[in-house]
C-alpha cells in the first residue's frame, strides 16, 4: 500500500540505523509518547536494533489503557439498561472493569455494538427512536474531532436519544507531568504524529523550550520511528532542544484547523483522572454547557463508583517511563492480556500487553535479538 510499504523498507531502515550509530556518542533515554508507536517499536523489534546506548521507554499514550476503572464500571451500568444501545470502539470491549468486561455485559443480554466511526451512532439512533443510544467517547486529540462531530450532528438534527460517555485525555499535560516528576529519566521525546495532525505542535514548542527537551513529532512506521530517533539523538548530541517534525507528510505546525474548530465548540478542557497515574489538571475534555444535554453521565445518573486497583501493579511507573514491564513481579504471571491487573496490560497498545504479545518476557540482556532485523513488513 502506498505511503505504508515504503516506510517499512529494510534498506532504508539499515541506512538510518547506520546514521544513528555514528551520531550517538553518549547514552540517551528517549520516550515514544503514543501507544501506536510503542506497538510498532515492539512489533518490529526497533528498540533491540538500536545501539545499546539508546534506551526507548514507553509513554502514557494509550487512551484505552488510561480510561479510569470507575468510568468503565459506569459504562457497564449504562450498557446493562434495557432501554440502551451501547456503542463503543472495539478496543474497549475486552477492558475489564471491577467485575467484568463489556463483552460479558453483552453476553448477559445487553445491546452492546462495536462501531468503526462514531457517526454510525446517528444511523442507529434514527433507526431506533424508542432506544437510548450511548457512545463511549474515549480517545486522545486524534479521536476528539470524530467524537465531537457525533455530538455536533446529534444537536443539529435534534436527535434526543443520543448521548456520550466522555473520557477524553490530552497529551501535552501528560508530557509535562512526566517532565515535572523527580524520578523522570526521559531526555527526549518522539511526539505523537496523529495527535499533532489534529492539534499541530505549537504547544510542544512551549514544553520543549520550558524543559529544554527535544521533541520530534514522529510517524508510526519503522522508517518513521528510526528517523525520529536519529533526529532526537542529533539534537541531544549537539545540545539543541527544539521541536522538529519528522512526520511532514501528515502534520502541519497548526494542525487541522477545521477539526480543531469543532472540537473546541463541543468540548472544554478539564481535569481528568488517568488510570495508573491519577488526576492530572487540565488534562482532558468534557462537554461544554451548550452540549451537556448529551452527557450520558447526567442523563443516566449513575452516581459515584468506588474502585480499587491491585497493589502489586506497577503500571503507573511503566506509563511514566520509570520502569519496564518485566520489572513487575506479576508480569506474564498473574497479569496477562486475558486477565490484566492494570492499565498497561488492558490494550494491545499498552506497553505490558505489547511486551507480552511479542515475547518480551525477559530483560534485554537475557534475550536474543537475532532474526528481528529482517522483519519489515
Amino acid at each position: 500500500m502506498k505511503y505504508l510499504d515504503e516506510y517499512r523498507d529494510a534498506g532504508l531502515a539499515q541506512g538510518l540505523l547506520e546514521q544513528i550509530r555514528s551520531a550517538q556518542k553518549h547514552p540517551w533515554v528517549l520516550m515514544e509518547v503514543c501507544g501506536g508507536q510503542t506497538h510498532s517499536i515492539v512489533k518490529f523489534g526497533i528498540d533491540d536494533l538500536l545501539p545499546s546506548g539508546i534506551e526507548l521507554v514507553h509513554g502514557p499514550g494509550c487512551p484505552v489503557c488510561v480510561t479510569p476503572l470507575e468510568l468503565i464500571d459506569k459504562a457497564h451500568a449504562i450498557a446493562s439498561r434495557t432501554d440502551v444501545i451501547f456503542c463503543s470502539f472495539g478496543d474497549m470491549l475486552r477492558v475489564p472493569g471491577s467485575e467484568c468486561d463489556l463483552l460479558t455485559v453483552k453476553s448477559r443480554g445487553a445491546d452492546v455494538r462495536v462501531v468503526y466511526s462514531p457517526l454510525e451512532c446517528l444511523k442507529i439512533a434514527r433507526k431506533h427512536p424508542d432506544k437510548q443510544v450511548v457512545f463511549f467517547a474515549i480517545g486522545f486529540e486524534t479521536t476528539a474531532p470524530a467524537n465531537a462531530m457525533l455530538v455536533w450532528r446529534a444537536k443539529q438534527e435534534g436527535l434526543e436519544n443520543v448521548s456520550v460517555l466522555v473520557s477524553h485525555v490530552l497529551v501535552p499535560p501528560a508530557i509535562e507531568a512526566i517532565l515535572d516528576s523527580p524520578w523522570n529519566r526521559v531526555q527526549g521525546f518522539l511526539g505523537p504524529g496523529h495527535v499533532c495532525a489534529i492539534m499541530g505542535f505549537r504547544e510542544y514548542e512551549e514544553i520543549s523550550a520550558r524543559f529544554k527537551v527535544p521533541i520530534v513529532i514522529t510517524g508510526f512506521e519503522p522508517v518513521d520511528l528510526l528517523e525520529g530517533v536519529l533526529m532526537a539523538v542529533r539534537q541531544l548530541e549537539e545540545g539543541r532542544a527544539e521541536v522538529e517534525n519528522q512526520y511532514v507528510r501528515a502534520v502541519m505546525r497548526d494542525g487541522n484547523t477545521a477539526a480543531r474548530r469543532i472540537v473546541s465548540s463541543v468540548f472544554e478542557v478539564c481535569e481528568r483522572k488517568w488510570r495508573g497515574v491519577g488526576p492530572i489538571p487540565q488534562s482532558g475534555y468534557r462537554l461544554r454547557t451548550e452540549f451537556e444535554a448529551f452527557d450520558a453521565e447526567r442523563r443516566f445518573d449513575v452516581g459515584a463508583i468506588d474502585t480499587q486497583e491491585p497493589a502489586v501493579c506497577i503500571s503507573g511507573e511503566v506509563l511514566r517511563g520509570i520502569r519496564k514491564p518485566h520489572d513487575c513481579p506479576a508480569f506474564a504471571k498473574e497479569c496477562t492480556p486475558a486477565h490484566p491487573l492494570g492499565a498497561t496490560m488492558v490494550s494491545s497498545e499498552g506497553a505490558c500487553a505489547a511486551y507480552y504479545l511479542y515475547g518480551r518476557h525477559l530483560k534485554p540482556g537475557n534475550r536474543s535479538t537475532e532474526g528481528k532485523a529482517a522483519q519489515t513488513g
Binding site: E18, G36, P192, A250, A259
Partner: protein, 98 residues
C-alpha cells in the same frame, strides 16, 4: 487507538449533511467523513482515523522525504568497504567491536 491509515479518495458525496467519500486502502474501500479535509480532491491521499480523514497526505513532502531517506541509504551503502583491507576504507564507530 490513534491508528491512522493512508488511503486514496475514490469518490466524493454528501450524506446526512456531511461531506463524505469512499477511500480505498489497498483492496478495500470504506465510507469516510471528509468534513475536516475541505481541500481534498478525487485521487488525493488522506490519513483516516475512526472513519474520519484527519489529514491530507502531502505528496510532495512524502516524495521529498522518501528521496532523502533513499539517498541517505545509498550513501551508507557506498561507505561500505568492498573488502576487509580495501584502500580508502572508512572506519566507523563501533566497527572494531563487531
Amino acid at each position: 487507538m490513534c491508528l491512522g491509515i493512508p488511503g486514496q479518495v475514490v469518490s466524493l458525496e454528501s450524506a446526512g449533511g456531511l461531506r463524505m467519500g469512499k477511500v480505498r486502502f489497498g483492496g478495500v474501500a470504506r465510507e469516510v467523513c471528509l468534513e475536516y479535509v475541505p481541500e481534498v480532491a478525487l485521487g488525493d491521499y488522506v490519513v483516516v482515523h475512526a472513519g474520519f480523514a484527519i489529514s491530507r497526505v502531502d505528496e510532495q513532502e512524502a516524495a521529498r522525504t522518501y528521496q532523502l531517506l533513499e539517498e541517505m541509504g545509498q550513501l551508507t551503502e557506498l561507505d561500505e568497504p568492498d573488502t576487509e583491507t580495501g584502500p580508502g576504507q572508512v572506519e566507523r564507530p563501533g566497527e572494531k567491536a563487531r
